[in-house]
Symmetry: C2
Subunit: 409 residues, 2 copies
Amino acid sequence: MRTGTNLLKVKDYNQRLVLEIIRLGDGASRVEIAERTGLTAQTVSNIVRRLLSEGVIEEVGKGRSRGGGKPRVLLRLRPGAGYAVGVQIDRDEVRVALVDLAGRVVGRRRHPLAVEGPEDVVKLAVGAVGEVIREGGVKSGKVLGVGVAAPGPLDPRGGVVYGPPGMEGWEEVALREKIEAACGYPVVLDNDAVASAVGERWIGAARGVRDFLFVYAGWGISAGIFVDGQLYRGRSGTAGEIGHIPLDPEGPVCGCGNRGCLVRYCSPREITARVRRRLDAGEESTLREIHGRNPAALDYEAVRRAAAAGDRLALEEVGESARMLGRALVGLANTLDPEKVVLGGRAFGGVGEVYRREAEEALGRVLYPGRRQVGVEVSASGEEAVALGAAALVLHDSYAPRMQGLEAL
Amino acid sequence: MRTGTNLLKVKDYNQRLVLEIIRLGDGASRVEIAERTGLTAQTVSNIVRRLLSEGVIEEVGKGRSRGGGKPRVLLRLRPGAGYAVGVQIDRDEVRVALVDLAGRVVGRRRHPLAVEGPEDVVKLAVGAVGEVIREGGVKSGKVLGVGVAAPGPLDPRGGVVYGPPGMEGWEEVALREKIEAACGYPVVLDNDAVASAVGERWIGAARGVRDFLFVYAGWGISAGIFVDGQLYRGRSGTAGEIGHIPLDPEGPVCGCGNRGCLVRYCSPREITARVRRRLDAGEESTLREIHGRNPAALDYEAVRRAAAAGDRLALEEVGESARMLGRALVGLANTLDPEKVVLGGRAFGGVGEVYRREAEEALGRVLYPGRRQVGVEVSASGEEAVALGAAALVLHDSYAPRMQGLEAL
């Protein structure tokens, strides 16, 4: 994948390894870096000197020493040494975030989208990228690249989007190429779930966590999977489609051909449809008024607001969705044995705690509970999680050590 | 993990990488090795010379060259350069296999077990290890080590078995240490599913496959997962417990606290219980006679033999098990996106094709079928799969390149 490697001059594997440890730690000392990489103190020292002189990292105060030796100088990335732009392309909006190396959002843009074709969306997105960079006063030479997150299916290697559900005119769009040509920065593309997962690993709830599952719930539901510190993509690059885990042999038929898939219980559309049916059947709810006025106006936003405000009917249906997600998660935890599950994406907005509670209860029934505790957290990044994650893709791609030799096997 | 590394003198990372490519290929040339490792031709040449002179590898004929150049000499492991012993400890038997570097079984032993404690089993197993080595005429210096596979849960790093279901007296047994002390060879321990998966990757249906799922069905059902060419163990080392994927919210209550877990449909005991209930209800089957004579004599062996012979009732119950496994597999395939699923273990004996067919049908409903085809195969190793896999553990552990630096992160 092409990336903004030239600016940070991430030349060799050892340097990348050192940078990765500095990036993931809250300040790392030279001694600690040597211990964790297995590199000699001399090699670490040389790499650190080079990175310091290039302004990529900086020294920040002193850490405690173990065993009473003299305190150690801690190193961290210099936030202003580089920036990345994250672009989220969703069905109804484009969000752009300019992020520094410390993960701070220093500029943002949000444009609602009527349903539009790729050309218009690319123009809008690239315009917004230029604006945040200009307004942030960031020199273009400091922009490492642009990360773009779009709904899947897509091919991150080829940079091609393959007709995500609900997006017409997006059958086989070379999105990365188009944006790259229009904005002039190196571009990486990935799906929204993967981007958010990378963002959480960078500065969110999964910081420093090597094995975790990020559950992304937007229009549908899917996951970004980290295995042993690396993003897991699967054979064809389409890993993480947890929305199509079958949960009930008697459940509703799904578009994929199976019955009772997770997405049939959890998607905003299905939850909303269940609420509507119960309102049609005359059940009580604070949503009766909207529904009576105009059934079409009763959307998922209304349902989750009502649930957050304690409406029984809305809460029951969100709870049903959360219970089914919990069942899927316990199966995944038994199979993958992660350290943590992080829940993020718009569908959790305002009702994240309902999902977290159900997930936690379900994960309490994981096999060998004495030997593994699977934590659950709701992402703190909120609505900006995907754009932030898209920016993180640029850094992840630059820094994450990858073994060329192994990949070739 | 301690291994027989000293004999093959697997000193450095580059050498392990070269050996791994030679091991996984059906003959690899120096040029190919250089291309795939990214090592220089000179480095590859030096490593190959050393391995040849030590008798670890040998030259075998010539491969076709690409583009009409002169044919290339192919390299492979010299089968007799080393041996590994695999030990399977199961609830009712101990199996031992002596295996050469080409994966050929050159000696075997099988002892039925009455229910016995760890001390007796260790004695029996170590005795059998000595016998196969002696009978095979293999010098002890050529034995790289002993791989032991036992039912989980167990801790492969610590070498400790933690009370597998159905094995009394096995709560926290330091099995590796005990066997090592008694036999004098380096010992590695892992669970039966993982061992079989490593065996399949070595010389079975998953040879050269980087992302696959090995489904092991014995007493219960679990999986060995290969991700990007490496065994995936999870955070606590207990990954692969697919038997506790919940498949039906209205299903039978499981010991883990959930409802409708896969193992409730697939375990030999459950299948047999379902058959018994239908016979009690008076249904027709070729199993009526055994059942009438002595219901306790109607075991899973009888059921699967009847199914293999075409008995409708037995086939229906095995089919129900296979359908539920298929549902679990399509969820796993959507999540993990593997290249292949391999089915192995005693419970598939004689009825593997029933499972394969259902799995294939279910996997045909995977998401994005155009972009991913998930193959299904039944292991050809049959009843010897676990012992063979246990031997493969020794070699896997010696050869599989591992990044110390990355592991420390």
